[in-house]
């Protein structure tokens, strides 16, 4: 094994800051870590088992003879491997993570504790229902509060994430339309929508058409009305929208959509701005998913698991999927699934997942809702909106805020790259923020704003934290406007410099391959 198998050669010249390189490639607390397959061995293990009694196998003659190639590590090596890797990640626990539309708020540790109670963590999904009454009650209780907070009529708890919830909502709409013999083919999606919206509509078998935004960053109501017709099944709206603005015409949009015989789907990714303040049910919405991993703080985990319950209007509720947990007058809970659906939920469009949804997220979200209560959730919305407006007003003299003149924003503030000079662009500002110790904002989204920077601070940031971020952005923006070319080299203090994404896509290396013996001896 070489001193440093991670590709950072000690013989490399000093970098442009003139820092001397170390023999190991490590820099004090910044520790390089090789791949598991470079340090582990198929002979090594971190788990002890009792000896297995020798007896004939009944594996159908299919015993595995070939080597699998799974490297193992002892427990101390494994803990160190993953701990070292973890330290190469930015996280909410480390600092401000203002990714727009992602709602990266603090994840309370009480929620981790309750999700690990054996009564929730160590229960099988197919246990007889008399042995899982508490689990069913959690699902039912959370469903109740989500309905209360949204003012809606019915709910599907099983979708696994936001995009899966979108799919659930569109399938409810499709089932409702088919039930009245109305085969419609088109779903309208604003240009500013999340990419999942059009992808979901296509996945559900619909043709997607865009509807334009107006100059104020809202859905163009007249253009929408002009396009509505007997072929339109649904309109997917994000409210608050991805420009960080509330759609003030939401009720008028809903009324027009309903008058045309179609349904309103709302992308609830931005519910954090209005939770406890506005009920989507009062805006004429027919279906909306709720990202429990956003508004209700279940940890995002580096890309999931999420959870995407969907609240439904009275018109759509009969078509929601199975299974779900129903409460009976005697106080008991029962799953409505294939067996009893014909009696209790006959119009269900079907089943979306193997079991009952993301139980581990339900326990966390319920603990979150109960911790905040009615007063706390309202404060969540208010503080998230206040924090975003504070950023908007503290930066708008330095960064172009395309909708800043039209009034306050909701829980996220949007800026453009207008005024940057010398070929410096949004990505350069974002990467320079990394060097200042922040996670960048969402970049180049939504597509309707040039070089968009979408900043969502969330309510769990202190004023001091916001002030430091504002100071850093102002300083970098000033350099960007002066065309400072050094921004293009950022980040210089992160575990890695900018990575070659073109190379990765042109010659994909998606799994580790052991080097050829000749190379290894080199």
């Amino acid at each position: 094994m070489t001193v440093n198998p991670s590709g950072w050669r000690p013989s490399a010249p000093a970098n442009e800051q003139g820092e001397a390189q170390t023999i190991t490639g490590n820099r004090a607390l910044m520790l390089e870590e090789p791949l598991l397959f470079e340090i582990g061995s198929i002979e090594q293990t971190g788990v002890d088992f009792a000896d297995v009694p020798k007896r004939a196998t009944r594996l159908g003659g299919l015993e595995r003879s070939r080597q699998i190639g799974l490297a193992g590590l002892s427990e101390p090596e494994a803990v160190r491997h993953y701990t070292r890797l973890s330290r190469q990640n930015y996280a909410i626990d480390l600092g401000l993570f203002p990714l727009g539309s992602c709602t990266m708020k603090h994840n309370p540790r009480l929620n981790e504790k309750v999700a690990r109670l054996p009564g929730f963590a160590d229960v099988h999904p197919l246990q007889p229902q008399e042995t899982v009454q508490g689990a069913l009650q959690v699902i039912n209780e959370l469903a109740f509060w989500l309905l209360d907070l949204t003012g809606m009529y019915g709910i599907a708890m099983s979708p696994k994430a936001g995009a899966h919830g979108e799919l659930c909502g569109l399938l409810c709409i499709r089932a409702a339309l088919e039930a009245r013999g109305d085969m419609r083919e088109v779903v309208l999606v604003p240009e500013s929508a999340h990419g999942t919206n059009p992808a979901t509509a296509a996945f559900a078998g619909y043709r997607v058409e865009n509807i334009p935004a107006n100059a104020a960053g809202r859905v163009d109501l007249e253009a929408l009305k002009a396009r509505l017709g007997p072929d339109v099944a649904a309109v997917m709206i994000t409210n608050p929208n991805t420009c960080g603005l509330f759609e003030p015409d939401m009720k008028a949009i809903s009324d027009a959509v309903h008058a045309a015989g179609a349904f309103v789907y709302c992308d609830g990714a931005n519910f954090n701005a209005i939770v406890g303040k506005v009920r989507p049910g009062d805006l004429g919405i027919d279906a909306m998913h709720i990202n429990l991993h956003k508004t209700f703080s279940t940890p995002h985990g580096g890309g999931g698991p999420g959870s995407g319950p969907v609240v439904l209007s009275e018109a759509l509720a009969p078509y929601g999927p199975i299974p779900f947990a129903a409460k009976y007058p005697d106080g008991s809970f029962k799953l409505v699934e294939e067996e009893n659906a014909a009696d209790e939920h006959p119009n269900a469009f079907g089943r979306m997942v193997a079991f009952h949804g993301q139980m581990g997220m339900f326990t966390r979200a319920l603990a979150y809702i109960l911790s905040h209560g009615a007063d706390g959730l309202k404060q969540v919305a208010e503080d998230s909106v206040l924090n975003a407006n504070y950023i908007l007003r503290s930066l708008e003299d330095m960064l172009d805020a395309p909708f800043g003149k039209s009034g306050p924003c909701m829980h996220e503030a949007i800026f453009s790259d207008k005024g940057f000079e010398g070929g410096v662009s949004t990505i350069d500002l974002a990467k320079a923020l990394i060097d200042e110790g922040f996670h960048p904002m969402t970049m180049y989204f939504p597509l309707v704003v040039h070089g968009a920077m979408l900043v969502e601070p969330t309510e769990t940031e202190s004023k001091a934290s916001l002030d430091q971020f504002i100071m850093a952005v102002r300083s970098i923006a000033e350099r960007a406007k002066a065309g400072d070319q050094s921004l293009k080299a950022a980040p210089v203090h992160a575990p890695r410099r900018r990575l070659d994404e073109t190379l990765a896509a042109r010659k994909p290396v998606l799994t580790y391959r052991e080097p050829e013996p000749a190379q290894a001896a080199e």
Partner: protein, 452 residues
Amino acid sequence: MRYLPLRDADRSEMLRVVGAASIDDLFCDVPEEARLKGPIHGLPMHASEMAVERHMSALSRKNMVAGDVPFFLGCGAYRHHVPASADHIIQRGEFLTSYTPYQPEIAQGTLQMLFEFQTQVARLFGCEVANASMYDGSTAMWEAIVMGHRITRRNKTIISSGVHPHYVSVAKTMAKFTEDVLETALPELTAETDAERLISSIDEGTSAVVVQYPDILGRIEDLTPVAEAAHAAGALLIAVVTEPVALGAIRSPGEMGADIVVGEGQSIGVGLQFGGPYVGLFACREKHVRQMPGRLAGETVDAEGKRGFVLTLSTREQHIRREKATSNICTSSVLCALAFTAHLTLLGEKGLRQLASLNHARACEAADRLAAIPGVELVNSSFFNEFTLKLPVEARPAVHAMVEKGVLGGVSLGRLYPGADALQNGLVVAVTETASDEDIDALEAALKESVQ
């Protein structure tokens, strides 16, 4: 409120900077009639950590905990011992509270872990490439079916009767809304699978054949004949693995010719959790990689030439391709993928093989003991850690009777296939390393009484 850092003095100062007289001024775009006038109705006010914990603990105590009783349930979710260090690793805040790694310079931890995960899954399944996880096994199977449709441009998929009925149900639900035609059948309580039916059903319109390995009744059969028949007709073989620990003992689907292998990764590293979150595994041949759904971590170099990892081939994905994407998936199940990869790293090849042989040995012993009960018949001639018994009575009441004796004795096929008369006496029993000798004794005694 303990989770909100702003103090009233901060709020006043910030409102002043913003130029708003009150917080309501910031909600001016919300029409008056849509604004709630006071706090949301019905929900209590905020509560202390202690009070919430007390409420949640009370709910948790209303469940029978698998680890507290003799426990033998499987059918798509398996109880294995998860090393304490694996659960510790997923609670590292830098993994737990990070986002999808869109900024690779400060997400190398997640990206390298995913690259290692992809390698492990590909090797375990006998495939060339794997993605960075799906929601669960059932949704991964549907994604594999539509991927097959894209590759072959055919729309008929033949699903083996041995595939988990919930997975079939998910596929049937989705197929109602697409142009996919699914051929399905109910399983029979026999030692043989329906491989012959599958082979004879393949024709020039067939996109893919889907088989589960081991199947819902625990049977293991060589996939080679089905793979050859599918390939001869220009169709694909999709294999579904719901118990990946089995692959420490038996040949991988990829070795036997499967083109796409999907699975449920819960049984390695992830607890039962009443059904979720779990982690979908997805692997295939390299030539099909551009038709794959989901995120992919790939190797590259940084501006100084150092090795690093990025999300790659994202032109397949919704945030770039929108309605032309291969899938709508965005958030998947990365933290559960970390649990899977950490547990599999602790096991290593040696540990996985030991774990698998221990499971098989426990299951063989239990199968012999239970099959010796008068009237009880072992359906399987082959199995890994799960097998099906044909009882002399309906299995559902027997399961409830065993609960009365404090034993969670298996999954009745009546629960999985309501209304299928020929299956009502079937009981699927899973025996992992967590079942002690005393547990097997208790199961034997409880089943004996329950079938009399």
